[in-house]
Amino acid sequence: MAFSIPESVWGQKVENKMQKNFSSRKKLSRTWEYIRRKWYKFSRNPLSIVGLALICTIIFSAIFASYISPHPESAGKFVNFSEASQSPSLAYLCGTDRFGRDVLTRIFFGYRYSLGMAVIVISIMAPVGIILGLIAGYYKNSWIDTVIMRITDIFIAIPPLILALAICSVLTPSIFNAMLAISVAWWPWYTRMVYEVTSSLKGEFFVQAAQVTGANTTHILFREILPNCMAPVLTKMSLDVGWVILIGATLSFVGLGAQPPIPDLGSMVADASSYLPDLWWEAVFPAFAIMLVVLAFNLFGDGIDDMLGEEKGG
């Protein structure tokens, strides 16, 4: 209750402005207000900021890996056995691996792959899942709904990791197939999510209004309903980046993901784990790298959640 006070006050404040300003400036100030408001909600938790900062840094290091990394050649098919298995030093901040390749460099490039992987996977599976969900939800109880959701159920019937693994194991191991497998295993979760929102929204007034005013289905789906699903979807997407990276790492850990000499964080840990604890840096730093990027996206995702989710206490 106490919180209805600031809320209502806000609404009124905005209207206040409306009365004074001209429509264009009103609009502007309104969006500006909106953004500031969102940003406040996002930034209220300092961790979200940390997450955002981390993400920016990681993305930067991934994009400019070839410029910022101390030994770019280490990313490719490169051997320098004279420098092999050096412990961390000024020359090699994170040491070198058994082939004399700079671990730090390989981490930077590794980010390139894992981020790319995550982005691609999500941009494949999310839209597919969302659209299917929208359609199924909108035509609830029709045969379309049945078909789509039954198929979805089949895919949801096993934990995604297992499914992804099963698929990977039959394909020839490669980063591409890993991505494929993860996408196949994950789209249904989006479908189900969107499906539930949509089917509940379907009865809502504004949807019916749109229907009455004779808006065509695509308009209703993408203009009326979709925006209302975006909050949970965006949150899930931002969190999923982390998960996809995790699963990717797990796949390559068992040798079903990216193949050498691609610098993949997961396989770096896997290979190096054989040489623990003597060559600890070979396993520890990539492991940290994985944790760092996942952490970043979790924090960020939570921030997005605070931002888009409805006001909760504190």
């Binding site: 209750m1 106490a2 209805s4 006070i5 006050v9 009124q12 909600k41 206490g313 504190g314």
Partner: protein, 329 residues
């Protein structure tokens, strides 16, 4: 003869921490209830009524709420400074509150019975001193008092299985369990449709008559207060603007805002703001200086802008916080 007020709120301030600083929601609320007295508290939505009452029960969520200054004296003791034991004592035996929205006020995942029984148990002190039988009889009794049909079944029900009216009645019964000195009724029945609302109000009226306890009836509708209270406080934007005997107020409301309220009675019901008073409740983040009402006031004077008007006594028991009346004393 000097008689001590049952409840006295002195210069109460409540702020809420939000982005961009604080919402200064209550700004020096003064409020008195005499034993056995029935007081009304009237004001627009969001003028701080509920906040004040929650402050009395000490159930404001803190943080974000903070109470920078002020005291709430119950029989001369400051509730804000009470230890847990005393406080519980007050909550269990002295004061109780009926919440605005019965649906939100009932725990959705427990049976009505469970919730009632626990209330009874603790209202009657520690677990040992009361037997299952007593609890049962007492529960039944209160349910009868709020004239709910078939209590047996209701006790076995979950809130969502009941209609809004029934829920409201449950809330009232819970309040009754732990009242014998002061009952705070926060806009009972607002969320219900008109007929039910009337029933509830009548029920409440009857009960109050029967119990003879003191009552604070909070409402945004003057009409509701009219026939159930002897004295009325008019609240605006976090402070009292006028207090008078109910009749007196209705006869001649002095504060421009009160007049506005009276003028707007029919349209006010259901919240929001009618044309009765142009404009809106100000934002609490940086509220208007001086009298918070001046932006909306017809007869704004320079002084209103920079000085917060204190209460001016117009006649016995009728005070107004408006500079129009400073020389009437």
């Amino acid at each position: 003869m000097m008689l001590m007020p049952l409840l006295e709120i002195k210069d109460l301030h409540v702020w809420f921490r939000v982005f961009k600083g604080f919402l200064k929601v209550l700004e020096g609320v003064n409020f008195v209830v005499w034993p056995g007295e029935r007081v009304g508290l009237v004001g627009e939505m969001g003028c701080g009524k509920t906040t004040t009452m929650k402050a009395v029960m000490r159930i404001l969520p803190m943080p974000p709420a903070i109470i920078p200054e002020g005291e709430i004296l119950f029989k001369g003791k400051d509730i804000l400074k009470m230890g847990r034991g005393e406080l519980q004592e007050i909550r269990r035996k002295k004061i109780s509150m009926i919440f605005q929205d019965p649906t939100a006020a009932l725990n959705p995942v427990f049976k009505i019975g469970t919730q009632l029984r626990d209330t009874v148990r603790f209202a009657r002190g520690s677990k040992r001193s009361i037997t299952k039988g007593d609890i049962r009889t007492r529960t039944m009794q209160v349910l009868k008092e709020v004239s709910l049909p078939d209590p047996e079944r209701i006790l076995e029900n979950y809130p969502i299985q009941l209609s809004g009216g029934m829920r409201q009645r449950i809330c009232i019964s819970m309040a009754l369990i732990s009242t014998n000195e002061l009952l705070i009724a926060d806009e009972p029945g607002t969320s219900l449709d008109v007929t039910i609302k009337d029933q509830i109000r009548r029920l409440l009226g009857g009960l109050v008559e029967k119990l003879g306890t003191s009552v604070i009836l909070v409402s945004h509708a003057l009409g509701a207060v009219r026939n159930m209270t002897v004295r009325v406080y008019v609240m605006y934007a976090g402070s009292m603007v006028e207090v008078a005997k109910t009749k007196a107020l209705f006869a001649n409301a002095l504060h421009p805002y009160s007049q506005g309220l009276l003028a707007a009675i029919p349209r006010l019901a259901g919240g929001g703001v009618g044309e009765g008073i142009p404009g809106h409740i100000p934002e609490y983040i940086n509220p208007p200086t001086g009298c918070r009402f001046h932006p909306r006031c017809k007869h704004t004077m320079p002084i209103c802008r920079n000085k917060k008007p204190p209460f001016f006594k117009v006649e016995e028991g009728h005070q107004v916080a408006c500079f129009l009346f400073q020389n009437r004393e």
